[in-house]
């Protein structure tokens, strides 16, 4: 039982209290989106997931501003520098004062292995700040800016909030830039799957018969191929001399090539079950033609379900891209994604020396979980009329 069960009294019956009537009538005239929102709102995990998802996409939107530097900047003299903790207040004679800083590095040499390592030097202080001027960039490729959300006040001395990699590149900046690629590849892949899925699933479900049979067999065939080898094969087929952007689109297409099948099945199933619904028959008996029936009755009935399954298939795309890139078959620098970053953490020696290289894995985890919770909530709310 849901909110939807709130019934009204008949004209003959007594009128309820005035306050009740007001609440009740707002439910009575609530459209499906309002009802869905009310239902979704009750789902705490999904709300949390939704908020985290929104934050992640907001990060993806403003990477240039949020990242302290660009991900490609190599500083060979900061190889595997450990993360520096940001202190917000500085101890002075008058007490604590707002003045963000980090502690600097000092180099230690391991006497046995004769290996240079960076350690945090509590004595040194590097001034940090919010909304600092730093490396110039083009915001969304439109206008020049050099304002960064957080960073070192001195452009000559870099700060590594999450440490550096083998080449002295800033992990935080790389991760923030990776957010854009990883999250957008999920979204883009899903949208491509969406078109293929809706088209083929819709055709399959609406016409039925031979067409349906054929499309279903194709779907079964595609789904029966082991995914990783298929991706690997397809990714290997991408020419190596392609520019990074084209590789990026190539990978998206490869991912959606498999992703559409699940969606097509959802759409087909909805079509088949809706076709036998009484209200669809009623529309036909009203004299509505097929196009009207589909657009006015069937599509609004399953659109919310489609959105939910789309959301639920984004994590799959993200994971697929991550795996491909991790295996070295997906994206390559200078494009950075979380998978590309995790590639650094492939061998045990680097992980032992620089465990912070695993942090991008955490980002994948958070994004995937958030999207899954969000999608689950959407799916539960997708049919507010469930009795």
């Amino acid at each position: 039982m849901a909110v939807t069960d709130v019934k009204t009294l008949s004209p003959e019956a007594v009128a309820p209290g005035a306050a009740e009537a007001e609440i009740e009538s707002s439910v009575s005239v609530a459209s499906q989106w309002q009802l869905m929102w009310w239902k979704f709102r009750k789902h705490r995990m999904a709300m949390a997931g939704g908020i985290v998802t929104l934050i992640i996409y907001a990060i993806a939107l403003f990477v240039e501003f949020l990242a302290p530097s660009s991900p490609g900047v190599i500083r060979a003299d900061y190889t595997w520098a450990p993360p520096q903790r940001l202190h917000f207040f500085r101890q002075t004679d008058e007490g604590m004062r707002w003045d963000p800083y980090v502690n600097g590095y000092k180099v230690e040499i391991d006497p046995e292995a004769l290996k240079r390592t960076f350690v945090i030097d509590e004595e040194q202080v590097v001034d940090a700040g919010f909304f600092v001027k730093g490396e110039p960039y083009e915001m969304w490729g439109l206008w020049e800016m050099d304002l960064h959300f957080v960073g070192s006040t001195d452009p000559e001395v870099p700060i590594y909030f999450l440490g550096a990699d083998r080449m002295g590149r800033d992990l935080l900046s790389s991760m923030i830039y990776g957010t854009r690629v990883s999250m957008s590849i999920g979204l883009l892949g899903v949208f491509m799957s969406f078109f293929l899925g809706i088209m083929l699933g819709g055709v399959s479900g609406f016409y039925g018969g031979t067409v349906d049979n054929l499309i279903q067999r194709i779907i079964e065939f595609i789904r029966s191929i082991p995914t990783i080898p298929l991706w690997m094969g397809l990714a290997a087929a991408l020419p190596t001399d392609w520019p990074p952007l084209r590789i990026y689109f190539g990978i998206t297409i490869i991912l959606s090539f498999i992703g559409w099948t699940g969606l097509a099945r959802v759409v087909r199933g909805r079509f088949l079950s809706l076709r036998t619904e009484d209200f669809v028959m009623a529309a036909r008996l009203d004299g509505a033609n097929e196009v009207t029936t589909i657009w006015r009755h069937m599509v609004p009935s399953f659109f919310s379900h489609i959105i939910a399954s789309l959301t639920l298939s984004i994590p799959g795309m993200i994971l697929a891209e991550t795996s491909l890139s991790f295996l070295g078959l997906g994206l390559r620098r200078p494009v950075v994604s979380w998978g590309v970053l995790l590639q650094e953490a492939q061998n045990i020696r680097s992980v032992a020396t620089a465990p912070w290289l695993l942090i991008p894995g955490l980002a994948v985890l958070v994004a995937v979980l958030a999207l899954n919770f969000f999608g689950d909530g959407l799916r539960d709310a997708a049919d507010p009329y469930n009795r």
Binding site: V27, N213, D278
Partner: protein, 363 residues
Amino acid sequence: MSAQLTNGSQHTTSKNNSATADNVLLDVRNLQKWFPISAGFFRRTVGHVKAVDDISFQVLQGETVGLVGESGCGKTTAGRCILRAYDLTGGQILFQDHDGEMVDLAPLTNNEMKPFRQQVRMIFQDPFNSLNPRMPVIDIVGDPLRINKVVAGKELEDRVASLLAKVGLRPEYMRRYPHAFSGGERQRIGIARALALDPRLVVADEAVSALDVSVRAQILNLIKDLQEEFDLTYLFVSHDLSVIEYICDRVVVMYVGKIVEVAETEELFAQPFHPYTEALLSAVPNPDPRNRQQKARIVLEGDVADPANPPSGCYFHPRCRYVQDQCSQETPELRQIAPGHFAACHFAEELTLAGVTASGELG
């Protein structure tokens, strides 16, 4: 509207129609609807479910005809064939158009059907599934008007308001969605939708079966009142014999896709000529505990025959308590036993079957 009907006239078969009186609104002839049973990888058709197998009956202007039978007897399929929700396997559906001509609806395409869809309307069984939950009442009731370009805009709103008032709902509720209404109210909305286009024939498919007992009487009364007000003709499909008796002028009894008996309601209930009708009547629980002792309930053996694989001869013979050798060999024709009373039984004249006496006891 009749101007669009130019090519409808070629289907007209009013001449060689001996039984046609002027007031026949619907004349169903040899209606057949078989559903294929497919099997195997290539979905070959391996047989047919003969849901409706060669039935003929007439509905006169202004009367209520009941189509009664147990589940699987084909009554719902027959109703939907008449609405042309299904394509027919065979037979004719002759419908009297406004100008008095009989038009066969069976071969019409979807486009050609459009003017007739306004004249033949349907009330659905399930008040929950038959209204699109994503549309407000004004769209549900107004859509037939809009689609058929009858009225639009403010006028449409007025029409919907008056329709709602007619079926006993407050017109102010037209912005509400179906979830705000109870089962009985939704059924009223469904009835308003059916009446929106001033239909002449309304097919009511188990219109009150899903409703609560106390609401059922309201809706039955409403259906009756509307008939008088709008000069409606009903084809009332139901499994509930007491409802059928209350609302119908004539009754068509079906069993496994075939008609077994047709008669005026009073005659059929008082003096059935087919053993199946007798059993059906005796199976209805009598809402008076004092009649419990006197009645001899006929309990039928076994289950309803499988319409994909019906028995030989008379379909009812395996369950019939008057069965004779002839029954399993020859299929009985529906024939007139008494004036206006048809039955499909070899021994209709010989058998003395029990009906329901006017006092409610079984005689």
